[in-house]
């Protein structure tokens, strides 16, 4: 039959195609499949496109940064790279102490407003062309503050400098608070004494950039220079392939001890699951979340020995609009807070990935109050307080604002709402908004309740209590206002004795917990998997330059 020959011909074509493709696939798989054995560098090199893996190289899965311009970065994902490539006058060490960086030392005037920094003379830009001078700092700080640069955070971190307001308003050609005394001496003057000004200088906004390279590039235009940034940090940029990878190499002339021990750090910026990449030895360190934590905690798991846990300086909370009824009533706020079972939430529901909050400040932060009592789970008292506040009717049907883009809002929030419904018999609905819109509604006070987290910029209680809960702070979304708290916070800000200062913050925190403008829920923990041959990796509780302490010991 003729059809038979035809069928044979067609089958032949199909089989041939499949065989050719299958063969091609098999070759490719074979050439790259060797994961578990010693993985000779050459084999993988061509296939993963990341270049040949050298002995002293660390491979990480990193966030795809929005910008590497220190003046412009407002997110942790960008700052993570900037702190390794660039540096400033001061930085944090692994114990979160402020240490001299490009500055060799500094003096503070008796009234606490004038900081005189003596710069090291041996700090060179990465291209070794010239040493960093006080003039470079003046250029860099003024650039971050300059309205033409269009930085959204320049003012946030450098607004304490005298004359910055006039400069931003366009009424001055320079910031009077930044003075170059001589090439090795920089004088910064702030409008009023502040214990945290020095902490703010660790943020990328205060880092030094090479003015010959940056020119008049702004945050939104001319960003090309960040492909080859001429920084001063422990690592140099070798290659940035937008959206794909960042390769850093050691700055062998780095001015601090220890100098980087790694020869190269490769960040993979896109790919599937970082957990699977870790399992397949594509990366050496990965963060780990609730999806995989159970399997790794199993003592029989191969990865169990790699699991590390560290504190993370943050707090997640439900905020109330204390400006308006019914949430201007502390009884109502306390009723809601007391009917949340934080132990259950943290231990059972969130699998011990977080610790229940008993105050605002997270464990691990200076001023964290160990002796603060737990916020009890006490439905009976909660119901009494609710009655005093006018009963379930005053709050029934209220909405809680949250940010997110997914189809289902946060599970955690749903658990809290279920607790309220069960213990107090009230129904609260969730309203989910895009993050930007959510922030705008918070700023404008258009909400009843909201859920949010706050992550430290620097490890100081001021960063939480003063910024989030002082009645005059623009970040006080809850609109919380307690003159006694304000007074304590103001006093703490001026206090120069560290122990007294922290005590003032603790007293303020106690008052805040009584008023309960927020119901703090929990503090996150950082969970990581780290390969056994990676030594010296300290889990950063927030973004600090930590790669120069890492060594690889195979």
């Amino acid at each position: 039959m003729e059809t038979r020959r035809l069928v044979l011909t067609l089958t032949g074509i199909a089989v041939a195609t499949i065989v050719v493709l299958g063969g091609l696939g098999a070759i490719l798989l074979a050439s790259g499949g060797g994961d578990d054995d010693g993985t000779t560098a050459g084999d993988d090199a061509e296939d993963d496109g990341l270049g040949e893996r050298i002995d002293n190289e660390l491979r990480l899965f990193g966030p795809d940064p929005i910008t590497l311009d220190p003046a412009c970065a407002s997110d942790a994902g960008s700052a993570e790279y900037i702190v390794e490539i660039f540096s400033g006058l001061v930085s944090f060490d692994l114990d979160l102490n402020v240490i001299p960086d490009i500055a060799e030392d500094w003096e503070v005037s008796d009234d606490g407003t004038v900081y005189t920094f003596n710069l090291r003379s041996n700090v060179l830009f990465h291209d070794n062309s010239r040493p960093v001078t006080a003039g470079d700092f003046k250029f860099s700080l003024e650039r971050a503050l300059n309205p033409d640069t269009q930085s959204t955070v320049g003012e946030v971190y450098l607004g304490d400098l005298a004359g910055s307001a006039e400069f931003i308003a366009g009424n001055a050609d320079e910031v009077t608070g930044i003075r170059v005394i001589d090439p090795q001496t920089l004088e910064l003057t702030i409008t009023e004494p502040s214990a945290v000004f020095i902490d703010k200088l660790t943020y990328p906004t205060a880092y030094v950039v090479d003015q010959r390279e940056v020119g008049d590039a702004t945050c939104f235009e001319g960003g090309g220079w960040t492909l080859t940034p001429n920084g001063t940090g422990p690592f140099k940029m070798e290659e940035w392939d937008l959206g794909r990878k960042i390769v850093l190499t050691a700055n062998t002339r780095f001015h601090l001890e220890p100098a980087p021990s790694l020869d190269r750090v490769t960040y993979i910026l896109s790919g599937g699951s970082s957990f699977v990449m870790y399992e397949n030895d594509e990366i050496d360190i990965t963060g780990i979340g609730s999806v995989n934590i159970e399997s790794v905690r199993d003592p029989n798991s191969d990865l169990n020995a790699d699991l590390r846990e560290g504190p993370s300086l943050n707090v997640f909370y439900i905020g109330f609009n204390t400006r308006e009824a019914p949430f201007d009533d502390a009884n109502l706020r306390n009723a809601l807070s007391l009917s949340i079972d934080r132990e259950f939430l943290a231990r059972e529901f969130l699998l011990d990935l977080v610790v229940p909050a008993k105050g605002i400040l997270p464990p691990g932060m200076d001023g964290y109050n160990e002796s603060l009592p737990d916020i009890p789970f006490d439905p009976d008292t909660a119901r009494d307080l609710l009655e005093e506040a006018g009963g379930a009717g005053v709050i029934d049907g209220a909405t809680i604002l949250t940010s997110g883009q997914g189809a289902t809002p946060s599970d955690i929030l749903q658990v809290v709402l279920a607790m309220w419904e069960q213990e107090l018999g009230i129904t609260v609905t969730i309203e989910q908004e895009d993050f930007g819109l959510f922030l705008r509604d918070l700023d404008d006070g258009r909400f009843e309740m909201f859920s949010l987290g706050w992550i430290a910029d620097y490890p100081d209680p001021q960063n939480f209590l003063d910024i989030k809960l002082h009645s005059e702070s623009s970040n006080n979304e809850a609109g919380y206002s307690n003159p006694a708290v304000d007074a304590l916070l103001d006093e703490a800000d001026r206090e120069t004795d560290e122990a007294t200062r922290l005590e003032l913050y603790q007293r303020a925190e106690e008052l805040i917990i009584e008023d309960m403008p927020w119901a703090p829920l929990y503090h996150g923990k950082a969970n990581y998997l780290v390969k056994p041959y990676v030594e010296g990796f300290v889990i950063p509780p927030f973004v600090i330059p930590n790669l120069r302490y890492v060594t690889i010991n195979r």
Partner: protein, 326 residues
């Protein structure tokens, strides 16, 4: 080239600006009517509202939408596609073209495989009509054509990376071949190609099977067989050529489906192609990048459709524009 064809092409090309205007204006306005813009999203919770407002004003985001549209299109016509805000400060052209190259590479492989396997498979199934292989193959085709990539990608990922451990879980890599950076020989390409080829092959095979069966029933096939032509000649010269005709149209739809599918596949697998970029640009309100992707994408699509129409004319002279008699 026949005169009729030339006018036909010119007429179609004249439509291009109209299509681009409609598409670009719709995209532009929809973006601007979204409640928050990129300055607000980039600024995050710490920035002062006054700073945000000042930058928004300076960047012209407070101007009326038509003014902003004319400004953007004016620049675009001179070849300036704008500045990215997802990759802050980089020209859009520097961001999108490397990404497009990645998407084009694996989609080209998908297209070749889809048609290379789908057409013979469909023809085979048609010729097995009446046997048990026919319903079986239809069942299998239907199954694969119906599984959305949102489901197939995680399954494939689980199978090949977790269970078998032979493929990377996602991402993209390239190596240099004869001076060109190519990713088509890397194992990273296997997952996206599988995910898009499986439903593609199934769809094409199913369609081709129907076409072939229809043609097989036609008189001219019987005539061809009756006059003693070899079976292979009948299939290649008479059956295939006639069955292929509607398939060429499918090519256009296939192309559109691939562009849509790329967004899902790239987002799920973390492939830094144009689909993932489109997704991220929308999330971060990267206006200029969204516009550039839409403009370049729709131009490519319109031109591809035009090429298909022309190819149509060559395969079947009857379709060529009336009036040009050969």
């Amino acid at each position: 080239m026949p005169a009729g064809l030339a006018t036909y092409i010119i007429r179609r090309l004249l439509l291009l600006p109209v299509i681009l205007f409609i598409v670009s204006f719709a995209t532009f306005s929809l973006g601007r009517f979204a409640p928050v813009d990129y300055v607000e999203i980039q600024a995050g919770p710490r920035a002062q509202p006054e700073t945000i407002e000042r930058i928004r004003e300076e960047r012209g985001l407070n101007d009326p939408v038509p003014v902003q549209y004319v400004r953007y299109m004016g620049n675009a016509l001179t070849g300036d596609l704008g500045i990215s805000t997802r990759y802050q400060g980089f020209p859009v052209a520097d961001v999108i073209f490397p990404r497009m190259w990645i998407t084009m590479q694996y989609n080209a492989v998908v297209l070749v495989l889809t048609f290379g396997i789908g057409l013979p498979l469909g023809t085979w199934a048609a010729l097995r009509r009446g046997t048990w292989q026919d319903p079986l193959s239809i069942g299998v085709f239907l199954f694969f054509a119906s599984v959305p990539v949102l489901i197939s990608v995680p399954l494939l990922q689980w199978l090949f990376t977790v269970k078998l451990g032979v493929l990377p879980s996602g991402g993209w890599s390239e190596a240099e071949y004869l001076g060109v950076e190519l990713g088509i020989f890397s194992k990273h390409i296997v997952l996206p190609v599988l995910a898009l080829t499986l439903p593609g092959v199934a769809g094409i095979a199913r369609y081709m099977r129907g076409q072939v069966m229809e043609v097989l029933d036609q008189d001219f096939v019987r005539t061809a067989n009756a006059k003693g032509l070899k079976a292979s000649t009948v299939v290649t010269r008479h059956v295939a050529r006639n069955a292929l005709l509607p398939i060429v149209t499918i090519l256009g739809f296939e192309l559109a489906a691939l562009i849509g599918g790329s967004i899902f596949v790239e987002t799920l697998l973390g492939i830094p192609g144009i689909g993932l970029l489109a997704f991220e640009s929308i999330k971060s309100r990267d206006y200029d990048t969204i516009m550039a992707i839409v403009l370049v994408g729709s131009t490519t699509f319109v031109l591809a459709m035009l090429l298909i129409d022309i190819a149509y004319g060559f395969i079947d002279p009857r379709i060529r524009v009336e009036g040009s008699i050969e």
